[in-house]
């Protein structure tokens, strides 16, 4: 029972984070919301493991925590490069 309540609460948090990711307004807001969605997924998997009586899920939660971090950093690098190219283009036109 208590795990179900917690799982539902975490799902509400994830839904709110997703709405923020859709709303934006800047691309950094979106990445922030997606990062929060990912960390909540880790907690969700852990709670779900207890709810289903299968604590093996914790291994998946652990791997997910690391993949989420690497994914956010990778997306950030990508966005950064695009922003740099755009600003380089603007500079080129101005000169």
């Amino acid at each position: 029972m208590m795990f179900a309540v917690t799982a539902v609460a975490i799902m509400v948090i994830m839904a709110l984070a997703l709405i923020r990711a859709f709303m934006g307004p800047s691309v950094y807001d979106r990445i922030l919301a997606v990062n929060m969605f990912g960390t909540k997924t880790v907690l969700f998997i852990a709670v779900l493991g207890f709810f289903a009586g299968r604590p093996d899920f914790l291994d998946i939660a652990m791997v997910y925590a690391l993949i989420n971090f690497i994914g956010v950093i990778a997306v950030l690098k990508f966005v950064e490069r695009i922003a740099e190219e755009e600003s380089a283009d603007v500079d080129g036109k101005e000169n």
Binding site: I13, N35, L58, F69
Partner: protein, 116 residues
């Protein structure tokens, strides 16, 4: 004894859920990107700590507890690095923070002095 532990973990899980939902609502109530980072960091730190401790109380002294603590450590090591990278990227690409009036001039001076 067992009931005390159950009630305690109930309370921890509920408090963690409440904190998480508050952080998610803060994501909407705070005015700009830089403040929203603070709201998100509430859910990353204390919410995770409370929920994981609630689960630890349920698991008792087993390998599962060790794994839960490792999950928490991973979250706590990675979340500041991710938010720092995010804020730094936003700052470098000129996303202007919304600041209270007295602070605005100070930051401008700071930026001028650091660039020269």
């Amino acid at each position: 004894m067992e009931q005390v532990v159950d009630i305690l973990s109930w309370l921890l899980l509920l408090a963690g859920s409440f904190l998480g939902i508050s952080g998610a609502i803060g994501l909407f109530r705070f005015p700009d990107f830089y403040s929203r980072v603070h709201a998100a960091s509430v859910t990353d730190t204390l919410c995770a700590l409370l929920i994981i401790s609630g689960l630890v109380l349920q698991a008792g002294f087993t390998l599962i507890t060790v794994k839960l603590i490792i999950v928490l450590l991973f979250l706590w090591y990675t979340s500041p690095v991710a938010s720092h990278a995010l804020v730094k990227a936003a700052h470098y690409h000129g996303l202007k923070p919304l600041l209270s009036d007295s602070n605005e001039d100070e930051v401008k001076e700071e930026e001028v002095s650091s660039k020269s």
